[in-house]
Symmetry: C2
Subunit: 696 residues, 2 copies
């Protein structure tokens, strides 16, 4: 089977989306950067961020090349040229992900000072810089994903002779994206929190400086962290979710209609057409974000998200009805329903996240902050509880998706959840731009109303970003699941029928138990990594205050050696990201080879079951603490005991919500895609194990 014509729609949509991103970027770049101090701070942030990215990518390029070689060798055998082709796909996937990170950072670090400058005039003008800046990132993630995936599909379909054969190779693409995403999330997450903690604990608490004070040697590193963690990390995360969801939908669409050529073509075509519709819907959604002066920016952002979702839903139904209404043996309307259910579930998860990290929940938590311990326990309890509804929603998505189209339906729900990625990432990525803008306002000693405007911008983004986080978590769960099912399909083609019946197969149960504890191990590792990296930043900041005379007092002409902080944070984050990253790659391969594909299946299921609630718990507990602190500050509690307790909660929550929690999302997907890619090797090696007969 050849690639259906709808793939061309996706290409066209991808190109249009990129052009739109260019227009948005030009709009941002046309704005004024402000005075010289602002320019200087901006340049410092930008160069810090680029330094980090460059060094990160040079570390990762070794990893990528190494894995590419391993892939070429390990997958040589049964299928002709599978190894080399997978390696190529892997490298391209890694490159595409890096490209998104790079581009997103470039624009984010260009938009920050421009947002500050616009904020000197009005709130709306600031929004009109920051949001387009975020949208560039969103469109980049979505369209590079679409173009990379579709382009490679064209290439490999030509080379291998069919879409099904190409889809096996394409797992490498998804794995490339996932690998970069994991390192970007973990490395970026460690960077941002180490810098944040260092800046807060020494600069704010010990030296008594206000937030983002230029005398604080870690202030620039802190601002760099917002970019490398929240922009590059988040983008890479959703990029790989998007790619993984699309790929597994294609694999399972092909499997669902095996033997029905028209059905297969329709299923694959529907996916590409849906993606094209998503790009269009995202662009339209961006235009729907309009605020009058004095209007509610949060309502505007939410309006954009909703318009985009509704349009997407309508388009998907139209596509299903017009293009596939008459295809034999196919009920495309059910596909469309599955897609829309996924979209709805993503929003549902987002709204629960919003519920648990704002409003009454946060006010109650603030009340519990009259004591350190009750604040911590309260936040943890909120986190634990906040996992309940999302898991129920995901369960509903699974059941509904399956009822509508079997496992293909489940993957369609994942595709739907990510359908309007352009705008959801846009809304999310605009947050750190606003955050940076505030930092620049502080650093350049602009009048307080500027900072107030950027803070309002930031806080509007925070709440709306909760919805984006919901999409990220929900789609990670469904994508991991979809990849897991794709893994079982891949095993089938290798002659291995995955048997996950726990009761007949205790090895599956053992795999599940091991899988269940991996997210716990990963959380411990990433938390400790943040702690260690933060320690080195803390020591450096303390050293500077000690050794640079006049720094603390803000003497004219004395400046902090912020480059050293940037450098130390970069080194710390890069060093600390290696172990968890390598672990995530090795565990599935080792378990698969030694205990077999069934045990590995159990491991994937177990990691999903324990990892998804844990990731949600970490994310929302962190969000609740953060917002409880903000609530106390807003209601005049700054400096009170209550405020101090809430600062501790916020500090505990920092690695929760920005390092450990989001990393688990990627961990789950990465382990699944590695299992998928290495399935041929795993089957071969396990069959050679002396205990093979005992466990099969």
């Amino acid at each position: 089977m050849q690639l259906p014509k709808e793939a061309m729609y996706a290409i066209v949509a991808g190109v249009v989306g990129l052009l739109f991103a260019v227009v948005m970027a030009k709009k941002v770049l046309s704005k004024d950067r402000g005075n010289d101090t602002m320019k200087e701070i901006q340049d410092n942030i930008a160069s810090g961020a680029m330094t980090f990215l460059k060094r990160e990518y040079s570390v990762l390029s070794i990893f990528v090349l190494g894995v590419a070689v391993i892939l070429s060798v390990a997958l040589t055998g049964e299928v002709d040229g599978l190894g080399v082709k997978s390696a190529i796909a892997f490298v391209v996937g890694a490159l595409c992900s890096s490209l998104c990170g790079f581009g997103g950072m470039k624009i984010a670090t260009a938009a920050n000072a421009r947002t500050t400058q616009a904020a000197t005039r009005s709130f709306n003008e600031a929004l009109n810089v920051a949001f387009p800046g975020g949208v560039v990132m969103g469109m980049l993630v979505m369209c590079v994903g679409v173009l990379g995936l579709t382009g490679l599909f064209y290439l490999f379909t030509g080379m291998t002779g069919g879409v099904r054969e190409a889809s096996i190779v394409m797992a490498g693409f998804s794995m490339g994206a996932s690998s970069i995403a994991l390192f970007a999330r973990v490395g970026g997450g460690i960077y941002t929190k180490a810098a944040d903690v260092g800046a807060d604990l020494v600069g704010k608490v010990e030296a008594g400086l206000p937030e983002d004070d230029p005398r604080n040697p870690a202030a620039i590193a802190d601002n760099v962290g917002d970019n490398v963690g929240d922009v590059a990390g988040m983008g890479a995360d959703l990029f790989e979710s998007f790619v993984g969801a699309l790929l597994s939908a294609i694999i399972l669409g092909l499997a669902a209609y095996a033997g029905n050529d028209a059905g297969q073509t329709a299923a694959v075509g529907f996916i590409f057409a849906t993606v094209a519709a998503g790009v269009v819907a995202s662009i339209v959604g961006v235009f729907a974000v309009r605020v009058k002066e004095g209007g509610d920016p949060q309502a505007a952002l939410r309006m954009g998200t909703i318009v985009s979702a509704l349009l997407f839903a309508v388009l998907v139904f139209v596509i299903a009805n017009m293009l596939y209404g008459d295809v034999q043996g196919v009920d495309a309307m059910k596909w469309a329903i599955a897609v829309v259910i996924g979209l709805g579930c993503g929003m549902g998860i987002g709204f629960t996240a919003e519920h648990y990290t704002s409003g009454h929940t946060v006010e109650d938590l603030a009340k519990q902050s009259d004591n350190y311990a009750t604040n911590i326990i309260g936040g943890l309890a909120i986190g634990f509880r906040s996992a309940v509804y999302p898991l129920l929603i995901i369960a509903v998505a699974v059941i509904a998706g399956y009822q509508l189209g079997g496992m293909f339906g489940v993957t369609l729900a994942a595709v739907g959840m990510l359908g309007t990625l352009g705008i959801t990432v846009g809304v999310d990525a605009y947050g750190p731009i606003a955050d940076n803008a505030g930092g620049i306002a502080e650093g350049a000693h602009l009048p307080p109303e500027v900072r107030e405007r950027t803070d309002a911008l930031d806080s509007a983004g925070n709440t709306t970003a909760a919805i984006a986080k919901g999409f990220a978590i929900g789609s990670a769960a469904l994508t991991a699941l979809a990849l897991f099912v794709a893994y079982s399909e891949s095993l089938k083609t290798l002659g291995w029928d995955l048997n996950l019946n726990l009761i007949q197969q205790p090895i599956v149960l053992a795999g599940m138990l091991i899988g269940g504890v991996i997210p716990f191990l990963f959380s411990a590792d990433t938390m400790n990594a943040v702690g260690r990296a933060a320690q080195s930043v803390i020591h450096e900041v303390q050293r500077q205050f000690r050794e640079i005379p006049g720094l603390r007092e803000g003497k004219e002409g004395v400046r902090a050696e912020f480059e050293r902080c940037v450098d130390i944070t970069t080194k710390g984050a890069l060093k600390e990201m290696i172990k968890p990253g390598v672990l995530a790659v090795l565990i599935p391969i080792v378990v698969g080879c030694f205990l077999g594909p069934d045990a590995l299946g159990g491991l994937l299921a177990g990691s999903l079951v324990a990892g998804v609630p844990l990731a949600i718990m970490l994310a929302n507990a962190g969000g609740a603490w953060d917002n409880a602190k903000k609530h106390i500050e807003k209601t005049g509690g700054k400096g009170t005991e209550q405020h101090k307790a809430s600062v501790v909660g916020d500090t505990v929550g920092d690695p929760f919500k920005d390092t450990s929690g989001p990393s688990i999302n990627i961990l789950l997907k990465l382990m699944a895609v590695i299992s998928l890619v290495f399935a041929p090797l795993i089957v071969k090696v396990f069959k050679a194990m002396p205990w093979f007969e005992n466990f099969s």
Copy 2:
């Protein structure tokens, strides 16, 4: 098939064990209670504890009767008289569990002051009161379990005509034990922590009183809490693990040798004989606990545990070889190996718990306590990491057990883990006695060396108790698993073949996702419950300090109204235990009836996979914080900022390790046993659901 003769060995061993408990109790009761103040404090603690138990049992009696009625009605149908018989078994199980709790509390509250008085003379004499006190509880739990189970088996085998038929009814017994255990653990856990937090936050922090100061109105409630939480709660927990493990071993032994009468008789006989051996080994182990004056009590306690384990292992091999060496189609030596592997795994889990809550780990955590947030993050990271090895060990136990004897082998590992229950519970239950003894020493203003001796006693017990906690957690996991498999066997007899293949059955996956989040919900509920109950204690203590003149200053003749604190804590704990308890009972029934037995199977598996690491994480994080605080106090850090931070960590850890964590253990077993008991109802109701056809 009739009950094999070995059941009589178990009866004899049970009676001997109880006699031994009586001897130990007499030994304790023969000691001197000390001066009048000590007697008064002891009486206050004892009456507070009894009040709580009486009120708890009167609340629970309504629950037990209600469930008994439901059982009689709901299970009427296919099998003759199943409902009424199950209801009887349920009530007897609940009564046996209550009996253990009641007896254990009686002796613990009798031993506390006597330990204090002995400590006025020497450390060794104190150990010789506290440890026998704990042993009474241990032997009670083990022997009431053996006698109740075996006795009822005799009864029901007679009534139903066979062991297999009786084993179905006996699931009710296990459920009765589990239900009481859940409420006892949750209620007791809330009580002990609410009182502790109340006593600490107001008495110690606000009013500046030392620990256990008699002026503190919550001091008595705090001491009562040690008994209702750590003695009664822990005992009920292990009682139900023991009963559940034995029962599921019997059910799976019968299933494993279906059609081979001699094999079935041997399998069931082996279980009873093993239990008898365990009673003997426990008694011998108690005699091995000997310390010379100035010797190391911790080494002595560990020696007792190890002697008992080794003897048990030897006896099990002897039994397997002598009694079942020649049975057709049976390899009893493999059974023995499975039992011993279980025993070893239990100890292994215990040692990892010890590792993560003592020594270098704790010293490192103490170092991180120069800051509140790093202390919290450090403790959480320890908790997360500490789950890794236990899960791997459990996975090994599952694989090894299965290789040795299929699912029967896995249940044998669980039986082995609990084989020396008499002494492991004994070592654990002696901790709260020592703790109470310290409180009485403080309250009666005895010379400081007395308190030092009881503290040394307490700390020796703490470390050794980590091993007992390991048994509790490991056995909970294996027992829940064993009950889960028994559930699948029960479904088979009902004509339902449990299909847990995730990929063919998304409903199983949905069940797993729901199951995975239940421990999170439960943790949130229990943490909040402690918080609310603690608030009411805090307010009461504050009120007394405000309204009773001279209390804070310790004026002659002024005494705290500690009865009110006891009363308020009791009411709070009983009120708060209802919701989580009822939820645990209802969830499996609701999911089973609406989504079917397969989804329920997924739910049980999911709750196990997420719940076991979470329970371990909560327990060990709490233990690490507690010991870090103690380490700082021991190294002269009292009153420093570091110490304050460690107190916050300890307070956060309190509900972790004593309420939420241990409750999850029971939750997992309770949900499994409820599924087992209600399987007939669930199958019937689900088949009547309109969507039944879609999901089967």
